[in-house]
Symmetry: C2
Subunit: 438 residues, 2 copies
Amino acid sequence: MNESGTDAAPDASPEGGRGAAASAPTGLSRRGLLGLAIGGGVAGLAVGAGAGLAGGVALGRARATEDARTAYDFFGGHQAGITTPVQEHLHFASFDMMPRTDRDDLISLLQDWTYASARMTQGLDVSATGAVGGSAEEPPDDTGEAQGLSAAGLTITFGFGPGLFENEDGDRYGISAQRPADLERLPAFLGDDLDPEASHGDLCIQACADDPQVAVHAIRNLSRIAFGRARLRWSQLGFGKTSRTTAAQATPRNLFGFKDGTANILADDTAALDEHVWVGASDEPSWMTGGSYLVARKIAMLIETWDRVRLSEQDTIIGRDKGEGAPLSGGTELTRPDFAGSAIDENSHVRLAHPEQNDGIRILRRGYNYVDGNNALGRLDAGLFFLSYQRDPAQFITLQKRLSTDRLNEYIRHVGSGIWAIPPGASAGSYIGADLFA
Amino acid sequence: MNESGTDAAPDASPEGGRGAAASAPTGLSRRGLLGLAIGGGVAGLAVGAGAGLAGGVALGRARATEDARTAYDFFGGHQAGITTPVQEHLHFASFDMMPRTDRDDLISLLQDWTYASARMTQGLDVSATGAVGGSAEEPPDDTGEAQGLSAAGLTITFGFGPGLFENEDGDRYGISAQRPADLERLPAFLGDDLDPEASHGDLCIQACADDPQVAVHAIRNLSRIAFGRARLRWSQLGFGKTSRTTAAQATPRNLFGFKDGTANILADDTAALDEHVWVGASDEPSWMTGGSYLVARKIAMLIETWDRVRLSEQDTIIGRDKGEGAPLSGGTELTRPDFAGSAIDENSHVRLAHPEQNDGIRILRRGYNYVDGNNALGRLDAGLFFLSYQRDPAQFITLQKRLSTDRLNEYIRHVGSGIWAIPPGASAGSYIGADLFA
């Protein structure tokens, strides 16, 4: 994915196609349009589907009126939003397919989502007529709250949950044979206290942006487009990224006040990405080549309890000092921890989680802090919405099992969980997950 | 309040007092410190209370390591956070006093909150030892997640609810005689569907900042300091400001996709502020001179329903066009609406709410959008967290009654409500609300 500056976003002109292909979505499907128009009296508004647009994504006027900030390409070999420099805000959504939907519904949904996402990531409305350019006698295609806002670094990343391939209703979409062998609900971990209504889902969308209104706008409009085909199961807002994916980004702090993600895989470490994050050409199934696996864990933090722990004990539990983030064996934040001595507690978080203590297993973390108001006791309902990308779900499972003796467990509860196969990026002119249906 | 740039925040040096006064808090009270230390085994850590600090707020090392962004003075004639250019993020919190607290508890709480707020608004930790500078054998004074972040334009604004002056337990703090006559729970309005657990409260704190982590850090630490004296009743995060308070700010959009707050009172319109927002010297009670009254309304928006309304009907309901925000009587956004003709519907929002239709009543709006995940039907739990400041609660009440026939009511529900007296700003060396206890 490219970081395009003010003179980028070349496709933002009305003429800008993205390379035509016979199968490219040229607008929203009739089904997607039905979602937009239902209740307005007329189904099937022709959106940006002029005959002159032979393929690719039909683009209308750019939405941003002020600065054209960072815009990332939606199309590419990998999906954006994984190694992209972590944006400030997250809106994550999980969806279930609606009853009695079929393979064509799923394909048309993915085509519609691709079409709308390719536009929104360039700072455009979901269709050429958008928020205010259509017929006054129809509901607008776009909900309009992002008018005047730039792309704000928006990335939209799609995933397929285990239930999409097969669930209690069977192989609804004729894709169970393509299910990755390791794509199944995560095993129960010690201390899990999962809320099923904040867990799992047939599909997921991770929307990240530097403006929360842009991320919310994306999830809202993609939910709307899904009408009749998929329904929002749960969603989560996050802020204050807790990981970094480039060396230029300072290591952020989680709500325990500690730097988090110091040892994360960075976007320019292509060897590590190939080894630990991207599904390789030799891996199965082949439609996942260039993809990844996403694990989401909603981790509630008992912050009031934590806040009463003395500083030295906090440091011991983490295995790093709170100020600089240096390992307790000495040095600075980026110094390699020395696990040979006794400076780093046996059950400290850093010792249990570190690659050196786990046969070199690494994951790419991309989590966010969250605050969902407070509970009846007047305590903030807050924590970490953990997101990690890995080449194989086993990486996360191995690490999480290892954390069973983590001293940090006294101060956290895992309350939500999900896993999704993240297909590779869509080619220009195609759609997300197309190879799954080839 | 001043907007201080990179060379401002003069008090950020360890020597920087703010003008000594005998009554000035020089650190957190023993009670506040107890809140920090409880569970750590030692109560009463001496925080920043060196004898050399004769008064004012004792300040330690600046927290920001990178750019020193906007910092607003906490002290002044009016509280900051009212006419301050609206920041990007909100964390609003309502508190109830704990049972069996007395007048001294309330005063010490306000002193502690003043001390910590004066520091945090300058990008400092809550005390001189802060997140990592204290004894390793104590819990840190500051929770630490804002280390490395600047002040980010943080403002912290305090308010006193009707129940603080008198409730079913009587006049707990000896201040019922000072209660403003109009400070009482708002009357029931048509269509109210209030959740008591998201309404009311003895005290409120509005924290606004351009970084959500900074706003959350402020509320979290102020809640912590309140230990044993006040308890969080409810809190709300918001984003994407829906009003502007300076002409330089573009009018933002609410989640219905319309510009909101076009006719707001701006910070440089001192005549309008004096007439409509600030309590005057001739108003009662005298301790409120320079203060204001804050109304908060959590307004859920039925966005999926709204999104199915045709564009012309949306325009009619609002009375403005969705694209530019111009009144339907013609012109551009800032054109004065012409209510004489029939272009603007009799029950449109703009006609019912406009000052010209309400004997010139104006309010200063400062609301934010919110998204609290979604409900069981898969609909986003989203809307507007409305905040308005006015010289007299009657201004809001009159306007809200007038909106009883608003066509917008079909698409919104008021689910939370609160009113607070906003005392004037604290003088340097004093504390918020001091005149109430004089």
